[in-house]
């Protein structure tokens, strides 16, 4: 029983960073911006989150600074792809190469290259009275850090925004048919930049979550492909908030499972278990990858006075 409930608890914790990053990507793609630089954005967010938390002693400062640096770095991508109409994949990849290296560089400036890791105090869990006492679901959903609650709240708000509001409808039109959106007076360029701000912020927060709410230290490569798994989660979740939540919980579960299997089993090389989340991603994308294919104008440059 405790194995199962611990597994589920860990699944939720592992799912949250994926969820934050994937929601960022959702906002990005809904405006036609296919940003594959999530891994890099999360990496720099993770380092800066850790660093500012280490200095200030506040995890909230860490989260906030993670968001800001995510935005700042993503503006490189935004300027290149929106204003200069450059290729999305190339610049997303550039971010993936630049940002993690920058993160390591900054880390060494501050902490040197020694092997003893500096540590911070993790964000505290907040128990929601009464609800937390519900068996299984209680500790799972109502005895978590505020970031978990925020992430779930964001899923609901996102779904509401895209399906119920005028602004959400306009926003979606930019990713589907920017020319049509422009003829209706929707500011395409501004929407795309806004998308990059949201994506940068959420990816940065997703990274900062790993250092300030999950492990209390920064290690190089700590994102370990979560940016790409989040990218897959957006496709797996069919570009909807609820779908992405389900996808992230699934991937989070795989992640939690592999750690437990590593510990529990003997004789099998641990690398096999480490593969589980990634293999699951590949299988999930193969199974669900075809069919509905996301915003129509995703990844295409938008030029205003094109003839």
């Amino acid at each position: 029983m405790s194995f199962v409930s611990n597994l589920l608890l860990a699944s939720v914790r592992m799912a949250v960073p994926l969820l934050l990053i994937a929601l960022g990507e959702l906002y990005s793609e809904r405006a036609g911006m296919v940003n594959i630089g999530l891994e890099g954005l999360a990496a720099i967010g993770s380092l800066v989150g850790f660093l500012t938390c280490f200095i200030s002693g506040s995890t909230w400062v860490g989260i906030l600074c993670g968001a800001l640096v995510g935005i700042a770095v993503n503006m490189i991508y935004a300027f290149a792809t929106v204003t200069l109409c450059a290729n999305h994949t190339v610049y997303g990849m550039a971010i993936n190469i630049l940002a993690p290296a920058l993160a390591s560089f900054i880390y060494r400036i501050f902490f040197g290259s020694g092997s003893d890791l500096s540590q911070i105090t993790l964000m505290k869990t907040i128990n929601i009275p009464i609800l937390k006492d519900i068996p299984i679901i209680g500790p799972l959903l109502f005895s978590q850090t505020p970031m978990v609650y925020l992430a779930f709240l964001l899923v609901i708000l996102t779904g509401f925004f895209f399906t119920k509001t005028q602004a959400g409808l306009n926003y979606r039109a930019v990713g589907e048919n920017p020319k049509a959106a422009a003829t209706l007076g929707i500011n395409v360029i501004r929407t795309k930049y806004l998308a990059c701000v949201i994506c940068g912020a959420l990816s940065g927060i997703g990274g900062a979550y790993l250092t300030t709410c999950y492990s209390n230290t920064y290690t190089e490569g700590n994102i370990s492909g979560r940016g790409f798994i989040a990218l897959a989660a957006v496709i797996f979740g069919r570009w909807s908030g609820g779908g992405i939540l389900a996808a992230c919980l699934f991937f989070g579960f795989c992640d939690a499972l592999q750690i437990r299997l590593q510990v529990a089993s003997v004789g099998i090389p641990y690398q096999f278990f480490q593969m589980i989340p990634y293999v699951a991603t590949v299988i999930a994308l193969t199974v669900i990858g075809s069919g509905k294919s996301g915003p129509k104008a995703a990844g295409k440059p938008y030029r205003k006075e094109e003839r």
Partner: protein, 502 residues
């Protein structure tokens, strides 16, 4: 009637090229004012200025006597100018309702009040006699209905002046009639319409006044009642048109292609063929008349090896086809001018020269070792020759075909296919969207090919074109041949009736 719109000396320059030059134009209230001109005459540019998408290089715009500056589509919308673009500006992944309310700036509420806005739209739809299911996705409705959604979109935003950019281009004849009704209704309600077209017949049918654009300049504005179609055409292309009737022949030649009880996807009314038997002889043009989407696409595809018939056989010359593969058909001297020149006919980002030799690149003339090494010089000089011969208007033969106008793109395809010296030429919608000059050129090329002994299958949604070119006419309806008619003095009424399935 009072004046609604006045345009004074509008110019628009792209680089050193004037798309519009010193254009003057007025539109009265309750008027259908046609803007007539060939492709590239500057009609669309002028309209994009009016809707705030382009900024004019020079000139003034007045609405009801007041000067306005249209910096963005929002400005134009708020001043009551609405446009239905030639390529619809609809979001496929959204419903009709969502498309109509998209970008609505009047709505102050954050959450969409579906009930209220539905009622508003329903009321508008009723007033103009539209029947549209608001909950259908754009992909689920016909092109004609999509156009109505576009019109409704403009009306919903309070448009006083509606600009319809080549609205009939994508419609069937029946849908065109429906559009005329809508236009008359709009004018009755006091709206004004700018109607953009290059089709003489519809212009003469629907306009009050006509302004003719040529090479970016307004040549003249005339009242419809005071001008003939012939005069309009002359003003539009700047030269007189010769009478455009071709001599019809009855071919005694041998069959270059024969379909024997061919069926494909037989249960589909719109995308299948049902027991088709026909012959195409050398030296004749067989025209396929019919409303678009009655199996024409599939007919062209089985005759070029793109798809294989599920039943029946096809023979080319005197040999039966066993392998359905485009290359096999090409080797048996079949040429194909496909229905979508950008999708199937050309590689847009490749040069004119490369596109011209696409199907023959492995011949000794253009490469050595069967395609291993290209003879660039030979290809380029051949391309120059073709550019000359087929009047492909371009800066150079190395220009990408994407940057050519539709008419010149079609000439590239025609040059490539004709120069292969085919026995059978399958041509689908050869002049769709082309201006008069290019249309005449392409039709003449087809007649010349026929006279050289090529057997031609002509598929066209343009009934006039089928009548004008065909030596024999077959009517296709829901995948079946409804009858065969002579091309000389064709019984137009009977053919039209057959097109509706009777």
């Amino acid at each position: 009637m009072s004046e609604l719109l006045r345009i004074e000396n509008i110019s628009k320059r792209f680089g050193s090229f004037y798309a519009n030059k010193n254009i003057n134009l007025t539109v009265e209230e309750g008027e259908i004012h046609t803007l007539l001109g060939e492709n590239g005459a500057g009609k669309s540019t002028l309209m994009n200025i009016l809707v705030g998408l382009y900024q004019p290089t020079d000139g003034k715009i007045f609405l009801k006597g007041e000067e306005v500056h249209l910096h963005s589509p929002n400005d134009a919308v708020s001043k009551g100018i609405g446009m239905v673009h030639q390529h619809f500006m609809l979001v496929d992944a959204m419903t009709v309702f969502e498309n109509i309310i998209l970008g609505d700036t009047n709505a102050k509420e954050i959450v969409i009040d579906r009930e209220k806005r539905r009622a508003q739209i329903q009321e508008l739809a009723q007033r103009y006699g539209f029947r549209i299911d608001l909950d259908k996705y754009i992909t689920e409705i016909s092109v004609g209905e999509q156009q109505r959604v576009e019109i409704l979109k403009a009306l919903y935003r309070g448009a006083q002046l509606l600009i319809l950019d080549e609205p009939t281009a994508a419609l069937t004849d029946i849908e065109v009639e429906g559009l005329y009704d809508v236009m008359h209704k709009l004018v009755e309600e006091g709206k004004s319409i700018i109607f953009i077209s290059h089709k003489m017949r519809e212009v003469m049918h629907v306009s009050d006044r006509i302004t003719i654009l040529r090479a970016g300049e307004a040549v003249a504005t005339v009242k419809k009642d005071e001008v003939s179609a012939q005069e309009l055409a002359a003003m539009m292309i700047g030269r007189d048109l010769a009478a455009s009737s071709f001599e019809k022949v009855i071919s005694g030649g041998s069959a270059v292609a024969e379909l024997d009880h061919v069926s494909y996807n037989r249960n589909s009314k719109h995308y299948g063929l049902n027991d088709i038997s026909m012959k195409i002889r050398s030296g004749e043009i067989v025209g396929i008349a019919g409303v678009d989407g009655n199996g024409q696409t599939q007919l062209a595809q089985v005759l070029t090896g793109v798809i294989a018939p599920e039943e029946g056989t096809i023979s080319l010359g005197d040999s039966k086809i066993l392998v359905y593969d485009p290359n096999n058909f090409i080797l048996r001297r079949t040429a194909h001018v496909p229905e979508d020149r950008n999708l199937q006919g050309l590689v847009g980002d490749m040069s004119i020269a490369d596109n011209l030799v696409l199907r023959r690149v492995e011949t000794d003339k253009f490469s050595s070792l069967g395609g291993a090494f290209l003879k660039k010089g030979a290809i380029l000089s051949y391309a120059k020759e073709m550019v000359e011969k087929y009047d492909i208007r371009s800066r150079s033969a190395s220009q990408t075909v994407r940057s050519l106008s539709g008419g010149n793109q079609q000439k590239v395809i025609l040059a490539r296919e004709m120069e292969a010296e085919p026995d059978l030429l399958v041509v689908a919608h050869p002049t769709r969207g082309l201006d008069i000059g290019a249309t005449r050129f392409i039709r003449q090329q087809m007649i010349d090919a026929r006279d050289r002994g090529v057997g031609i299958l002509l598929i066209s949604a343009d009934f006039d074109e089928v009548l004008e070119l065909s030596d024999r006419i077959l009517v296709l309806f829901e995948g079946q041949i409804m009858g065969e008619f002579p091309g000389e003095n064709p019984p137009v009424d009977e053919i039209s009736l057959a097109m509706t399935g009777r």
